[in-house]
């Protein structure tokens, strides 16, 4: 079976002297949850932004559902509409109500009528437990609530896969779980997910595979139990010992 998302030998430079990604390859099958971890500066956030073409790459190929992200002929707006993305700093649109944040994509990108977009948006807000906040502006919500709205906004586009770029890194500790709970539920419903995170508890609960990156390279790509039970590379061992100390 062909993977839903496939990265082959991806190279990326920032300027001529600094290579951030070195021959990164990664296959994600439909319904799979892959957690990407690694020390800061390892290139994991850059990698995930390359998947939907937010960051251009200089070498290798990336395909989603057999559409080549790296092919200039691909209609990137159509492709991006099919892949949901959640950012570290939420990036809700501050000048729109929560409801409008969820409706703008379906209305303007998919051409859905307002009533239909609104019905779907309300259902999604219900699902992330924020239906009562639909009329508020993002600034009136806590960080955890904003991130749940951001997840709902991505889901409003009926994505085939979801990309999470450190979704809980900017949150106060007491708000991390409300976001992770939504993500766990999503994973259990069979959503294909790539999650860049340091939340190893989340990885243990729902990941199928864990990818460990360091220095712009994919060092290890293993089933979750193998990764946590017997990491192969010394760098992964060292990383795990640092973040699992407490």
């Amino acid at each position: 079976m062909t993977p839903l998302i496939s990265l082959k030998g991806v190279d990326k430079w920032y300027g001529p002297g600094f290579q951030v990604l070195r021959g990164c390859s990664l296959d994600v099958a439909r319904g799979e949850v892959v957690v990407v971890c690694g020390p800061s500066g390892s290139g994991k956030s850059t990698l995930i932004k390359c998947v939907n073409g937010l960051e251009p790459v200089q070498g290798g190929s990336i395909a989603i559902e057999a559409a080549e992200v790296t092919d200039p002929k691909t209609d990137m707006t159509k492709l991006r509409a099919r892949v949901g993305m959640v950012f570290q700093h939420f990036e809700l649109f501050p000048h729109m109500s929560v409801l409008d944040n969820l409706c703008i994509g379906p209305q303007k990108v998919m051409g859905r009528p307002r009533a239909e977009a609104e019905a779907k948006a309300m259902a999604l807000l219900e699902r992330v437990g924020l239906a009562a906040h639909a009329a508020k502006f993002p600034i009136q919500l806590s960080g955890g609530q904003q991130q749940r709205v951001a997840i709902a906004r991505a889901l409003a586009m009926d994505p085939v896969a979801m990309l999470f770029d450190e979704p809980t890194s900017a949150l106060d500790p007491e708000m991390i779980n409300e976001v992770l709970d939504v993500m766990v539920e999503l994973a259990r419903e069979g959503m294909t997910m790539i999650v860049v995170t340091h939340e190893m508890g989340f990885a243990r609960r729902v990941a199928d595979r864990v990818v460990f990156m360091d220095g712009g390279e994919v060092i290890e790509d293993s089933p979750k139990d193998d990764f946590f039970g017997a990491p192969k590379s010394p760098r992964a061992v060292e990383f795990l010992s640092k973040i699992l100390q407490h």
């Binding site: 950012f87 990036e91 000048h95 703008i104 990108v109």
Partner: protein, 227 residues
């Protein structure tokens, strides 16, 4: 010396000829700012274009029109250009001069507003599949508008007063009509004070309008404003 004439003052305060002049001033301001915003937006986009010649052209335009007085620009357009066969009416010359000049200032204001919207916002919009023009229209422009309103307000206020410069090419706006009346009636102080009051009323009215616009675009940025 013949002292201050209250009767004359109040008479001119309600003078239809002057009032119409004030309406012309208002009309020139609305037209200059509106067209200046359109042209300024285009210049701002050129200024941020990835193509060097376009950036260079925008830079040159801003440099030229911000670096020379409107008075000189108007005289060149109305009095100078006919010498090489290019003729504009008084109104055309006034509008061309004011619009070109406003556009140069507004382009810089608009550019700084667009640049002040965090990059993450366009990334988020791009990630849900929006096209570039949609990102500008629905995400960046509304947020940039909030940022540019205060400096834009300054421009509107300045433009209301700058229109008076068009009186030198005999544009019949408020100041020109004031001067015409002075030549007939010789009530120099009364008439100029009336003109000043008209300007003051218009700039004050704009202050109220600006505050309303600020509130409208400030929604979602101030915790207390959204409730």
């Amino acid at each position: 010396m013949h002292g201050w004439n209250w009767t004359g003052f109040f008479e001119y305060l309600t003078n239809g000829y002057l009032f119409q002049g004030a309406l012309v001033t208002l009309g020139l301001t609305v037209a200059s700012i509106t067209l200046g915003l359109v042209l300024g937006f285009v210049i701002a986009l050129l200024r941020m274009s990835p193509l060097k010649p376009l950036r260079w052209f925008a830079h040159f335009y801003i440099w030229l029109f911000r670096g020379t007085p409107v008075l000189v620009q108007l005289i060149i357009i109305y009095t100078g250009l006919p010498q090489i066969g290019i003729r504009f009416t008084v109104l055309e010359s006034t509008l061309i001069g004011l619009v070109m000049n406003e556009a140069a200032y507004l382009a810089e204001i608009i550019r700084s507003g667009i640049n002040a919207v965090p990059r993450g916002q366009s990334n988020a919009a791009r990630a849900i599949g929006m096209k570039d023009w949609q990102i500008m229209r629905y995400i960046v422009a509304p947020q940039a508008t909030r940022i540019i309103i205060p400096p834009l307000g300054n421009s509107v206020n300045g433009c209301l007063k700058t229109t008076s410069i068009a009186s030198v090419i005999s544009m019949e706006e408020l100041l020109r009509r004031t001067q015409v009346l002075i030549q007939e009636k010789f009530m120099v102080l009364e008439l100029f004070v009336v003109a000043a009051l008209y300007y003051l009323i218009m700039t004050t009215a704009w202050d109220f309008v600006q505050r309303r616009i600020e509130r409208r675009f400030g929604r979602g940025f101030d915790i207390s404003a959204g409730h």
